[in-house]
């Protein structure tokens, strides 16, 4: 039993990315189910459309914002931006920021799309929203062949409170709306998946590194981020201990080596790929260039922050700065 458990664990670790996405989708589905059964109650009045749309779109927006907040890249991009005014006004810089923002969005958009897709497949919110639409062409199409009061009482159908319209007619209309909602939901899921596949194909096709090296690169980026946390914690603890010891014991502080401010700033910028020298991360580049005198001699004119990259970072390397939320 232990062997099987280990095998399952190993499979999970290998497919962390996909499982992560799957988990997000499942959690959103579960959350939607809870919401729709506990919280959502269609008002069956003139408010139908606004109520349905709010339940459909606002949680998606909240999940999108949460996705942005939880991405390391966002903070790497924005921290200290206000103080770097000279950089902001370059068009090239704007473009680079835009590209990075797009990459962050492609990961952050998974949860909101799952929410909308699951909500559409369920049908409750869409039903409520659509029965509150006032456009006569649309209501004519829905109430086609039904009793004349159908259009006037349309907003009461989701609660089953229509008085002048027979039950069978209102059930038919609701079934039509529900079918439309489910078809829309499946179309959304299918188109998002195909679009994702095409994007990945284009990114991988234009990859300057081979498949196995890319695989190694991902592993390296993950390990570096894990170890960075550990090393930062250790260093902080040692430094704090040294300072407090010196304070409480009235002694001179022991000499300690700590990275200078410029070093921290250099390694906090976003990774820029360059065809001349390929480093596996910005930390790697700094360590190789700024501490190795031979290397520094060769590259005297280029700064670590790559102010003038020869090429934009290829899309396939977007994972490099993600850190903990490695996807």
């Amino acid at each position: 039993m232990m062997d099987k458990f280990q095998t399952v664990l190993k499979i999970f670790q290998k497919q962390k990315t996909s499982l992560g996405f799957g988990l997000v989708a499942l959690l959103t589905a579960g959350g939607e189910q809870i919401f729709s059964s506990v919280v959502f109650k269609c008002p069956c009045s003139g408010w139908n459309f606004s109520y349905g749309m709010v339940f459909l779109l606002v949680p998606a927006l909240a999940l999108l914002v949460l996705g942005y907040i939880m991405s390391n890249k966002t903070w790497k991009l924005f921290t200290g931006l206000c103080l770097r005014k000279s950089k902001c006004c370059h068009f090239k810089y704007f473009c680079a920021c835009g590209v990075v923002f797009f990459q962050i969005t492609t990961t952050a958009v998974v949860a909101p799309v799952s929410w909308i897709a699951v909500a559409l497949l369920n049908g409750n919110y869409f039903e409520c929203a659509v029965t509150g639409v006032n456009v006569s062409v649309f209501t004519n199409h829905l109430c086609d062949g039904k009793s004349p009061q159908c259009q006037d009482e349309l907003y009461k159908f989701p609660c089953g409170r229509a008085t002048h319209v027979p039950q069978s007619d209102s059930n038919d209309v609701l079934a039509t709306i529900r079918a439309e909602s489910q078809v829309l939901g499946w179309l959304l899921i299918a188109s998002i998946m195909v679009f994702n596949l095409l994007l990945t194909c284009v990114a991988r096709c234009n990859s300057p590194v081979s498949y196995l090296q890319l695989k190694f690169w991902r592993v390296y980026a993950q390990r570096e981020s894990d170890l960075l946390e550990k090393y930062t914690a250790d260093h902080a603890e040692k430094l704090a201990e040294r300072n407090l010891k010196s304070f409480f014991q009235h002694t001179l502080p022991e000499p300690v080596t700590t990275p200078p401010n410029q070093a921290w700033e250099k390694i906090s910028s976003l990774y820029r790929f360059s065809t001349r020298d390929h480093y596996y991360s910005i930390l790697h580049k700094y360590v190789e260039m700024c501490h190795d005198p031979a290397e520094a001699r060769d590259n005297r004119l280029s700064s670590v922050r790559s102010d003038g990259p020869d090429t934009a970072t290829p899309a396939v390397l977007a994972f490099v700065d993600e850190g903990k939320m490695m996807l």
Binding site: M1, M2, F5, K14, Q15, S18, L26, A29, Q33, V118, L121, N122, S168, D172, T176, A179, E180, Q182, V183, W186, L187, A190, N196, L197, T200, R204, C205, N206, S207, P208, V209, S210, Y211, L212, Q213, L214, K215, F216, Q222, R223, E224, L227, L228, T257, T258, P259, P260, A263, I267, T275, D277, H278, Y280, S281, L283, H284, V287, E288, H291, D292
Partner: protein, 310 residues
């Protein structure tokens, strides 16, 4: 703390039970999701066909895309193709590339075909889709020797809400279900026969004997597993070296590393050749006579010496 240890030990002893309960929860969760996506035929003339078809093909398409995403052979062949199309035709042999593509695609098609077969054997989706058809030929076939009302009420048959007499309704439903199940079985048989023919053809054209082929498959699997282990170990070493150098504010140690060309070579797809005794491109690279044994001191990559100095 002792109590916690006791509880933990209890759970560790009940691993089997926990495993089974977990599986049960997963199945219940999966069933909940499916019932949430419950299929309800709208039973009207305009929507039946589109609705039924969406439920038949939508999940199939999603499964196909997922199958392609998780195919490592596809990405291995395809990464970096646009920058270097020669990769697709290693050693001037484009036919291999095509064969590999066909294999990848047929591997990815297994899940969607399984879904399609299960859905057709079930019958509800087909029933809904076909009852919404407008084609005169089809309607003549279904409503042969029946009343005129049959054509108009056909769309409402799946919900059993039509104005037709109940025995006629039942007859139509049974006919739809029978057609759907026959179609499902046909697809199963055809896919099985095609799969068998494909396997026979591949094995027939194999350049190696049966036992060596088995060994080769096993070797490929083991090499893949060990690559992951070695990559993890190397990545940890490199990361530690970099971080130590950063926090201690000193020059980094020398670190032997495979160069970029080496990575490119071992990423190519392997084609077996009778004159060589290699089981993968990695082995071919490693056993080469003119292999460059001077490791990179710094793990930098020089892509093209020409553009480097520009």
């Amino acid at each position: 703390m002792d109590n916690f240890q006791t509880v933990l030990r209890f759970f560790m002893n009940q691993k089997a039970t926990i495993g089974y309960s977990f599986m049960a929860l997963l199945t219940i969760g999966g069933e909940r999701i499916f019932s949430m996506v419950s299929f309800q035929c709208p039973c009207n003339h305009d929507q039946n066909f589109a609705y039924g078809l969406t439920f038949l093909l939508g999940p199939g398409l999603v499964l196909l895309v997922l199958g392609l995403f998780f195919s490592s052979r596809l990405w291995r062949l395809y990464t970096g193709c646009c920058l270097n199309p020669i990769k697709l035709c290693p050693r001037g042999n484009c036919f291999t590339c095509l064969k590999v593509f066909v294999k990848i695609f047929s591997g990815a098609c297994v899940a969607p075909i399984m879904w399609l077969c299960v859905a057709l054997l079930n019958g509800t989706f087909y029933e809904c889709a076909v009852s919404g058809l407008d084609d005169n030929l089809v309607l003549d076939l279904f409503c042969k020797n029946k009343t005129m009302m049959c054509r108009e009420e056909l769309a409402r048959v799946p919900c059993s809400k039509s104005k037709l007499p109940s025995d006629l309704n039942l007859e139509l439903l049974l006919m739809f279900r029978a057609q759907s199940q026959i179609l499902g079985w046909c697809i199963i048989i055809i896919s099985a026969v095609l799969g068998l023919l494909g396997t026979c053809y591949t094995n027939c054209r194999s350049k190696v004997s049966y036992l060596q082929l088995t060994f080769w498959k096993l070797y490929k699997e083991k090499e893949k597993e060990q690559f992951d282990t070695f990559a993890m170990e190397y990545a940890s070493k490199l990361a530690e070296r970099n971080l130590k150098s950063f926090f201690e504010n000193r020059a980094p140690e020398i670190f032997p590393f495979p160069n970029h060309k080496a990575w490119e070579e071992i990423s190519a797809l392997y084609t077996f050749s009778k004159s060589e005794q290699y089981y993968s491109t990695l082995q071919r690279y490693v056993e080469r006579d003119d292999r460059d044994y001077c490791p990179e001191e710094r793990p930098v990559m020089q892509l093209d010496p020409g553009t480097e100095r520009s």
